[in-house]
Structure formats: C-alpha cells, structure tokens
C-alpha cells in the first residue's frame, strides 16, 4: 500500500500508518496535525528560559539579544529559571505516580476493611513479603489483618514528615549512603513534592544545584516510594504477573464484538472493567445485540497492567489513542487518569464511541462522567460496561476500519517471574553477565512523542541493544512498541546477538522482557538492587543503562531523575527544556556523575543512543573486571 511520504514519516508502525491515512481521508485531526500546526514552537520554551511562576512576569531570558534581559524581574538568571522549571516537571510527574500509589494503597485499605466493592487480596505471598519489609507481624494473622496494617503503613508513607521511605531501603547500602550524603534521601512522599513547589515559588530557592537536589529527592520518593507502592500493592490486589501470552496493536479490536478500551493508568479501574465484562448477563446482552461477545482491550499503562496480569490484548500506545477511536469500532473509551488526550472528546463525537471519564480528578470536554469509586467498584464497572454494550447497536458498520495488524507477544515478567524463569535464583543471569553472553541489562521505557517518528525511536534502539547482547527490560509505551514489533516473542531472539540468543533459548524467554506499566519501573530498580546486592556492589557499578527514546511526560522527567539518582546512566531521545542553562545542562550530563555515579545523555538518534548505552556497559564491565 502506498502511503504519502508525509504519513510514512510519522510512524514506523503499519497499523498507525493505515489509520493516519484513514484519518486524512476522513479529515480528522490527530496529535501529529496539531504538532505541525504548533510549529515553530517557542524557542524560549524549548530552552526552558520562560518563567511564569509569578505575576511580575511572564519573563523570558533572551540568549541572542545583546541588550535583552539577562535576568527575570526578580533577578532570576537563566540557570535559576531552567532549574526551577525542571524540578516543577519532576513534581508534576512524581505527583502523578504517587497519587496512583496512593489510590492503590487506599484500595488495599478498603479491601482489608471489607469495604471495597469487588477487590480481593490475590497474592498472599507478596503480602507477607511486603509486611516483613515494614516489620508487620504475619504469623497467625489473617490476610485481612496483615493487609490492614500494610495498607496503613504504606498510606502513612505519603504524609510522612520525617524518616525515610521504606522501599528505598531495598537499594544497596552504598546507594542509600550516597543519597544521605548528598542530602537526597527522601523523608516522605508528599513532603518532597510540596517542598519542590515551595522552593520554586518566587524568592525561595535560587541556587540551581540546591533546586536540582530537591528535584532528585522527590523523584527518589517517587521511584522507590509512590511508584513502588503502586506496583507492589497492585501485585497484592491483582496478582504478581507471571508470563502470559497476548497480542498488541489496533488489530485486537474486533469487528463482531463489543469493543471496550480501558485507557489511563490505574488497575483499580481496569481490573474491574475486565472482571465486569465477564458477567454472564452483560455477555448475554451483547449477544442479544448481535455481537459475539465483549472484547476488552487496553491502551497505555492501564493496558500494560491488565495485559501483564491477564493477557488482555493491548490496542496501542500513547500516540495511537485517537487512532483507536477512528477505527469506528469502539463502543466505549473508558479512562481514568494520565496521558489521556482531551482531543478524544471531539473525536468521539464523530463516531458512536462513548468517551467515559471515571475519576473525579480527571474530567474531559465531551466526556460522559461515570464516576468510579472503590466502594461500589464492581457495580459501577458493570454499569460502565453495560453502557458500552448498549452502544453496540449504534455502531455504523460503514464507518468501521480496523487495520489487521496485531502481533503476538509474551509478557508478564515481574521481578518474581524473572527469578522463577531463572530457576529461583539470579545466578544464571549473573553468570551470563559475567561470561559476557549478556553484555548488560537495559531498561528502555517512556512515552511517544510526535517529535520522534512514532515507535522508530523505541524499536531501533531496542534492536540495536539486543543485537549487541544487551538484555532489554521494558515498560510503558516502549513495551507496547516492542510488543507490536514482535520483539516480545521467544523467536525474536533470532534478532539478538549470539550470547543473548543462547540465554533466551535456554530460558525460553524473549530478548525483550515486558515488566509492566510506567510505575513498574520500580520492578526494574528492584531487580538492579537485587543484582547489585548479590554482587556486593552499588547499582552504579553494574553494566546497566536506561533510555527513554520518545519521552514526553513530566512523569518521564521524574523517572529519569530517579533512575539516574539510583546510579543508572540514562539516554533521553527528545531534548529536555534545559539547554538554555549551560550550568544545568552540565550538571545533568556531567557533574551528576561525581555526585550520583550516573548522568543523563541526550541523543535523538536511537542507534547512537543505543551505542552510548553499550559503550557505558562495556566501561562498567571493564571496571568490574568481567
């Protein structure tokens, strides 16, 4: 099929290309169109040199005018403005992840109290393990009793004023000592975020280094705090993922079934949607409308959650959300929080699709709000699914266009699952790394961004890594991209270098391991911590590296910050808004090495980015003497 060069330039994913052509035919606007219209984007913003923090502004520092202002009205220099803007992004991202964790903790609390409407405690082993970390007694107690104590302990982490965030102690002692030395060992989750907001208020913290350190502190409270809590409590409630087969891409939508997309982030909602859709009455209702059944699929991170745990198919990643609606085959796009485009409202009006918002925190123009709460979870979920089923009759078959593309994948590699696959201990992996069969481990994560050809950044970088015997762990939209590209099948080992190929064959795993949603990057950190502890070194000594080839969200900024703070070199594929301050740029890309043992690199070319990671791993291997 011959696509216009314009469309081919936007994505490497065949389903996306087909849908973009379809969108053009139907004269429907997508994020790509809005991005083009937005060009040229403001240079001051791109450089991070625009400050709107107080009403003496807005201020901008001009890098090119001799006679232009070099300081904001309050006297803030470019360095200060960039640093403040950067850590506010961390605050936004950390807040998002942490609220997600908070919601999970709340759900566990209600479940333990018997007040939740349909949640169960599924993984008692995990419950006990977490309880142990918090010093909660488990012997002779019911799971509800343990869960109650755990929920309260975890809940308390958010409002903690002093002390430390419990899960951060999973990190090697050396790493924790480094955090303490740098003054970035977080005291509590919300506190560090609030302090960012305080410090970035006009006339508070005006030292770029000091500002950045607080940003890192809050990010650690995210990665080892809020996100980790989200992951762990989700595992307790919904089960720790084990390897399971699934499919990814828009082709998972069905012509003859009620299609429901769960989009957003929290499994608190999506798990219920999945469960509700199994209700015989609703299935009956669907059949009565002429559908063969109810097809629940996921998008973005909530899609990752239900895929990891139940093998529910994933329709696509961030930039594909509009395209899913444009198939004309979606009865309901059910959303909760994060990464949901407000453009969906208008778009759904062009089709029969119902755009249903569920969170009191996240309302959208053109959405039907069916507010979800944990107390009446299953009841509400059934109502929402019912609304979708009813909508099937409104589907206009003439307007339906579902690209066939969908790819099989093997997902579900939680840390526990990986260790199980290794035979119960990390040793086989450690030996493979030591022998060089596996050069190192990469965590490739992050969003989509129309600034980068859709999925090209993700796939090319990952392919280059596995070619060089780097085992890739992945989450979020990168994971979805890899799944769509067939990299999550054991057969994909054929694209790996010989060393990695052998390991994958021996273990029956793909070269790219899906570890979950974005909060599940905490899983990757847990694995790194375990490996580091096993080898008796710090995480920064390991041949590991991170990458976010197409990142866009503030959550990504927080993630990048906590990954680097944990000692892992990270490559960013889109340019962050910091170049307006040479000082901040230097801190992030160079000075961080001496303080954190790791730093950022910015490289928009995915192959070059992969090579940076590989070179980094080689250097670390050399230093370890392996």
């Amino acid at each position: 099929m011959a696509y216009s060069e314009k469309i081919l330039n936007k994505s490497v994913d065949p389903a996306t290309q087909k849908m973009l052509e379809r969108a053009e035919k139907l004269d429907l606007e997508t994020a790509w169109d809005r991005y083009e219209k937005m060009l040229p984007q403001c240079g001051f913003g791109e450089l991070g040199l625009c400050c709107r923090i107080c009403n003496m502004g807005p201020c901008r520092i001009s890098p090119f005018e001799d006679a232009g202002p070099k300081k904001g009205v309050c006297g803030a220099t470019a360095d200060i403005i960039v640093a403040r803007n950067l850590i506010r992004m961390i605050a936004g991202g950390a807040a998002a992840h942490s609220d997600h964790g908070r919601d999970l903790a709340h759900t566990l609390l209600l479940t333990a109290q018997g007040k939740s409407g349909g949640y169960k405690i599924k993984d008692e082993t995990k419950l006990a393990a977490l309880a142990k970390e918090y010093g909660i007694k488990t012997k002779g107690r019911t799971k509800e009793e343990i869960a109650l104590d755990l929920a309260e302990s975890v809940y308390a982490e958010f409002g903690k004023q002093e002390g430390f965030v419990q899960f951060s102690r999973r990190a090697p002692e050396k790493r924790v000592a480094l955090w303490k030395k740098a003054g970035i060992d977080p005291r509590g989750i919300d506190r560090e975020i609030v302090e960012i907001m305080h410090r970035t208020h006009i006339g508070v913290d005006n030292d770029p280094v000091n500002l950045i350190l607080q940003g890192l502190k809050a990010s650690i409270a995210d990665g080892w705090g809020g996100s980790a809590i989200a992951t762990e409590i989700s595992d307790v409630l919904f089960g720790t993922p084990v390897p399971v087969r699934s499919q990814a891409n828009l082709g998972v939508l069905k012509h003859d079934e009620v299609n429901i997309i769960a989009h957003g982030h929290e499994p608190v909602l999506s798990e219920m949607i999945v469960a509700a859709a199994l209700d015989p009455k609703l299935v009956e209702q669907a059949k009565a409308s002429g559908a063969k059944g109810i097809n629940v699929v996921g998008m973005c991170c909530t899609g990752n959650e239900i895929c990891m745990r139940h093998g529910i198919p994933i329709a696509g990643n961030f930039l594909q959300q509009e395209l899913a609606v444009i198939t004309g085959a979606v009865e309901a796009m059910i959303v909760d929080v994060q990464c949901i485009m407000p453009a969906l409202g208008d778009l759904c009006e062009c089709f029969h699709t119902k755009f249903i918002s569920t969170s009191p925190k996240a309302k959208f123009p053109g959405a039907i709000h069916m507010e979800f709460n944990e107390e009446k979870a299953m009841e509400i979920a059934k109502k929402i699914v019912g609304t979708a089923v009813e909508n099937y009759a409104n589907r206009n078959k003439e307007k339906v266009f579902i690209p066939e593309d969908k790819t099989d994948c093997m997902v579900g590699f939680s840390a526990e699952a990986i260790i199980k696959a290794l035979g119960g201990t990390l040793d086989p992996l450690l030996n493979a790394v030591k022998s060089g069969a596996v050069k190192g481990i990469a965590g490739v994560v992050g969003c989509n961004n129309p600034k980068i050809k859709h999925d090209k950044g993700h796939i090319e970088l990952v392919k280059e890594l596995i070619k060089n015997n780097v085992l890739v762990t992945t989450t979020g939209c990168n994971a979805i991209a890899c799944a769509k590209a067939g990299l999550m099948l054991p057969e994909a080992a054929a694209q790996a270098g010989d060393g990695l190929k052998g390991v994958c064959k021996a273990l029956g795993i793909p070269p790219v391991l899906h570890m979950g949603s974005c909060v599940d990057i905490s899983r990757i950190l847990t694995v790194c911590a375990a490996i580091a502890n096993a080898l008796g070194v710090d995480i920064s000594d390991l041949p590991v590296a991170g990458a976010a080839p197409e990142w866009m969200s503030e959550k990504a900024v927080s993630i990048g910050a906590y990954v680097v703070s944990s000692g892992i070199f990270t490559v960013l594929g889109t340019v962050p808004q910091v170049l307006g301050s040479p000082l901040v740029t230097e801190i992030l890309t160079k000075t961080a090495n001496s303080v954190l043992g790791a730093a950022f690199a910015v490289e928009t070319d995915p192959i070059k980015g992969a090579r940076l990671m590989i070179a980094h791993m080689d250097a670390k291997r050399k230093a370890l003497g392996i």
Binding site: P40, C42, G43, E46, F64, D66, G68
Partner: protein
C-alpha cells in the same frame, strides 16, 4: 530625502523585490522573530546548536516596546536611497540587484558611521568582530526566518504593490462599513 523616483526611475522599470512589512498591531512581543533570525544567522542553523556557539549569533530584527502596550518590530528597510550606503567611509555598503543593502564585512572597518546615520536604528554592532550587520532578507530562504517564525502574522513578506493593495482593500472595507452606518 532623495529617492529613486527623483532620479528618474518609474515604478514599473525595476523588478519588484519583496519587503518585510510590519503589522505592529499584531505583534504580541513574543520575540520568536528574534530567535529565528539569530538561529538563521548562526553556524549550526539549529536553536540548540546556536546557543552553544562561541560567537553568539545576532538577531537583525528588533522588537521595541512603546508604553503602555504597543510592541513594534523593527528591521532594516533596505532603503532605496540608503543613508548608510552613502555615509560609509570605506565603501562597504552596496545595494544589490535584489534590492538588499549589504555590508561587505571585509571592507567594514567598524567605524559605525552607518549606525550614526540610520534613521531606524536597525544597524547592529557586532562586538566581537567589530563589524556592522543588518538584515540581509535571508538570501538562502524563500521566506525570511522572522516572517516564517511569527506566530501572529505581524511580519509580512510581500512586494510594495501587493502589500499596499491589501492595505487599501482593508481600508476600503472600513470606509464602506462606516458609510453604510
């Protein structure tokens, strides 16, 4: 001021170059034009590259503020009878066939006489190089960088007749509306 008409040229004789016209009521002072001009006149021609260059590239367009709320973009008018061209004591300034007034940097000795006579104040002084510089109408582009970058259409690249016509059309619409009342 003397001009080419006095010297015998009629408007139809000369090919019509395009000028950069300014609609100051549309200017919001975002200074995107300044950024784009500087980047266009940098070595690397990218924003991120330009800020790292050892000689910070200069913008040839200026945005000035007039209290309480007017923003006025200013750029070299490429005068047909450019005062700077006549005042230059080293003969460095010429007006080329496209109607662009150009300072030959080899000849420029940085005496700033041109700055002294420019009635618009749009000749810049390059401190490091000691040379004068002004808008060159972006010879390598179809559309000058500033015009391309302006998000509100405050900068317009058009020939004099075409631009004047559009102003007349606007004015006549206003007249017609006013008379109709």
């Amino acid at each position: 001021m003397l001009n080419a008409r006095h010297l015998g040229f009629k408007e139809g004789d000369m090919p019509q170059p395009k000028e950069i016209f300014v609609k100051s009521d549309r200017c919001v002072g975002c200074k995107s034009c300044i950024m784009a001009c500087a980047v266009e006149h940098s070595q690397s021609k990218t924003l991120f590259g330009a800020i790292g260059e050892s000689q910070i590239p200069k913008s040839r367009v200026y945005v000035e503020w007039v209290a309480p709320d007017k923003k006025i973009p200013l750029v070299c008018r490429q005068c047909e009878d450019a005062p700077c061209m006549y005042a230059c004591i080293s003969g460095a300034i010429t007006r080329n066939a496209d109607g662009v007034v150009i300072t030959d940097t080899d000849k420029c000795i940085g005496c700033w006489t041109c700055v002294m006579v420019c009635p618009y104040g749009v000749i810049g002084r390059h401190l490091e190089a000691g040379k004068a510089y002004r808008c060159d109408r972006c010879p390598d582009r179809d559309l000058p960088a500033c015009v391309s970058a302006c998000p509100t259409g405050a900068l317009v690249f058009e020939t004099v007749p075409a631009y004047s016509k559009s102003v007349r059309q606007q004015a006549s619409q206003e007249f017609a509306k006013a008379e109709g009342e």
